[in-house]
Symmetry: C2
Subunit: 340 residues, 2 copies
C-alpha cells in the first residue's frame, strides 16, 4: 500500500513500481479505507498502545496480507466495507505476531526500525500484541460472518501452534525439512491463505473460487517465506530492514540450511549443528555463506519458491476477473523477482 505515500506516482505513470503497487492502485479506495480502519482501531486512552502499535504499523512493511484480502474480494465480486474490516484485522493479527515474535527472538531490528521490545520493553510488546489480536477479532465480529471468523480463528490457532513448534524445535536442536515445513505452513502460509480465503468469501466467491484463492494464498505464502529465507543470507541490510545472516546468528534453521544439510559433505553437518546449538562465533557466518554458495543452497531455495509461485498461479484458474487475476499472478512472480 506504498502507493498511498506517493499518489502522484500512481496516477502519472502508466505502470507503478511493483505489482503490489499496481494492485493497490486498482484498489485505491479500498486501500485508503483499510489504512483508515487500521489507524482508527489503534486509538486508545492508554497512550502506550498507539505508541507501540503505530511504531510498527507506520513503519509500513509491505501490507501484502491486507492487499491480498482486498484483491481476493474484488476477484470474486466486490471489496466492500467488510473486506476492508477483514483486511485491517489480518494486518492486526500479523502485527501482533511480529510483536510477540520479536520478544521471543530477542530481535533488534524490525522493518528497518529498532524493534518495539527494545524501545518499550518486552512487557509492552506482549500486552500490545494481545490488544491487537483482540482488536482483530472485534473487527471480524463486525462483519457478522461466522464462516470468516472460523477461518481466521483457525488460522490464529495454527500460527500460535507453529510458533510453539518452532520454539520446541529450537530448544531440542532438532533439524529437518519436515519440522521446517510445518513451521512455515503454520507461521506464514496459514495467514496468507486465510487472508485470501476470507477476502474471497466476503467478496461473494463460489466454493471453487474460495478454494482456489485459499490455495493461491498458501502457495504464495510458502514462496514468500522461502525467498525471505534466501534473502536473509544475501539481501542488503537497508533494503530488508534486517542484517544479513540474522537467521544464522539466531541459530534459526531455514530452507537454505536445510538444503545445505541435505547436500552436506565432510564436517559440514557438524558446522550447522554448532550454529543450531548457538555455539558459533560471528566469524563463522562467512564460512556459512561460503558453504551455502558451494552447495547451491540459495539457488535451490529460490527454485523451490518458483515452484510454489507456479502452483499459486495455477490456483487462480477458477477466477473470472482477468485484470485482478493478471495482477495477482504478477504479484506472485514478483515475490521471487524481488531478490534481483
Amino acid at each position: 500500500m506504498n502507493v498511498q505515500a506517493r499518489p502522484a506516482d500512481a496516477q502519472t505513470h502508466a505502470r507503478p513500481a511493483s505489482p503490489a503497487d499496481a494492485l493497490a492502485a486498482v484498489l485505491r479506495e479500498e486501500v485508503a479505507a483499510t489504512e483508515a480502519e487500521i489507524a482508527r482501531n489503534l486509538a486508545s486512552p492508554v497512550g502506550l498502545i498507539p505508541d507501540v502499535a503505530h511504531h510498527l504499523v507506520d513503519a509500513g512493511g509491505k501490507r501484502l496480507r491486507p492487499l491480498l484480502t482486498l484483491a481476493s474480494a474484488r476477484a470474486c465480486g466486490v471489496a466492500g466495507a467488510n473486506a476492508v474490516k477483514l483486511a485491517a484485522a489480518v494486518e492486526y493479527i500479523h502485527t501482533a505476531t511480529l510483536l510477540h515474535d520479536d520478544v521471543v527472538d530477542g530481535s533488534s531490528l524490525r522493518r528497518g526500525k529498532r524493534a518495539a521490545n527494545l524501545i518499550w520493553g518486552d512487557k509492552a510488546s506482549v500486552l500490545v500484541g494481545d490488544f491487537l489480536f483482540a482488536r482483530a477479532f472485534n473487527l471480524m465480529v463486525q462483519t457478522g460472518s461466522i464462516r470468516v471468523l472460523d477461518i481466521l480463528a483457525h488460522a490464529s490457532s495454527v500460527i500460535a501452534e507453529g510458533e510453539v513448534l518452532q520454539l520446541a524445535a529450537a530448544n531440542s536442536g532438532e533439524v529437518n525439512r519436515d519440522i521446517y515445513m510445518k513451521v512455515v505452513e503454520a507461521k506464514t502460509a496459514a495467514l496468507f491463505r486465510a487472508a485470501c480465503e476470507a477476502g474471497a468469501i466476503t467478496g461473494g466467491g463460489d466454493d471453487e473460487q474460495v478454494a482456489g484463492l485459499a490455495r493461491f494464498g498458501r502457495h504464495l505464502g510458502l514462496a514468500f517465506q522461502f525467498v525471505d529465507d534466501a534473502l536473509d543470507y544475501g539481501g542488503a541490510t537497508d533494503s530488508l530492514g534486517k542484517n544479513v545472516g540474522d537467521d544464522f546468528r539466531e541459530g534459526k534453521v531455514t530452507l537454505p540450511v536445510i538444503i545445505a544439510l541435505e547436500r552436506a559433505q565432510d564436517d559440514e553437518p557438524l558446522f550447522w549443528q554448532r550454529m543450531v546449538a548457538r555455539k558459533h562465533r560471528e566469524e563463522d557466518l562467512d564460512r556459512g555463506l561460503a558453504i551455502l554458495r558451494q552447495r547451491g543452497a540459495i539457488d535451490a531455495t529460490l527454485d523451490e519458491a518458483r515452484e510454489q509461485v507456479a502452483l499459486a498461479r495455477a490456483a487462480l484458474a477458477p477466477l473470472k476477473d482477468p485484470g485482478i487475476v493478471q495482477l495477482l499472478g504478477e504479484l506472485a512472480d514478483y515475490v521471487v523477482a524481488r531478490v534481483n
Copy 2:
C-alpha cells in the same frame, strides 16, 4: 469445579463445602462436559502446548468464571452444549491472561505451583498464551453466535487495554483510585461480566435478564478483586498459592494501598511512593502491614467488597429460577466470606 475431584463428597453430603461447590453440584453434568471440553482443546501434536497449558489448567484454580457462564445460562433457561463451549472459552481466555501476566510480572508462584514462565521460560508462556487465546475464539465460533463473540471479543480488548494501562501506570509511578479502578474494571470485572452475559444469552435470557447477569458479573468481579487485594496482605501462603505481600514486593498498587494513601499521615505517602518505585527493602513489608492495619485499610477494602456484593445480589432481581438465584447470591457472599 472442585466437586469433580471428589464426587463422593458431592453426593453423600447434603451441603457441599462452598457455594461454588454447591453450584457445581447442581450443574454436575455441564461442569463435567466443560472439563472435557477444556482438556480436549488443549490437545496438540506440539507437546509443549499441552505441557504448559495442563500445568496451569490442572492446577485448577477456582474455575469460577466458567461456572458463572454455566450458572448464568441455567438461570435463564438451559446450559446446553454452547454454554459448555463458552465456559471453556472463558477459562482459556483467563488462563492465557495468567500466562502473559506472569511473564509481565516476573511471578514465581501461580495457583500454588511454580509459575510456567520459570519452568518453560517466558517465550513458551507468551506463545502458549497466544494459542489458548486463539483456541478460545475457535470455541466461541463453534457456538455460531455473533452476539456472544462480540461480547467476548470486546472483553478481550478491554482486558488487554487494562493490562497495558497497568504497565504504563507502573512505569510512570502514577498512583490513584481512578487508575486502580480502571485497571480492575478491565482486568477482572470485564471477564466476570462477559462470562455471565455470554452465558445468559446462550441460555436464552431476555434483555433484562442478560443485563442483570452482566451487572452481577461485573460487581462480583470487583468484589473478588478487592478481596484478593486484601488477602494478599493477610492470607496464608498455602491457602492462596501466593506469598503474603507479593503485591508489595512487586510495587503493585492495590486497593488497601490506595486507601492507606487516602488516609496517610506524616511520612506515609513517601513510604508508599518508595514501594511504588520499587526502592523498598524486604524489611519494609512489616512497616507496610503495620500502616495498613493502623489506617484500617484492609477492613475498608473488605467493606468496599461487601458493597459490590450487595450490588451484585440486587442485579439478580430479573431472574426467575429461585434455586440458581439463591446459589449465585451465596456465591457472591462467599467471595468476601473466604477471608475468614
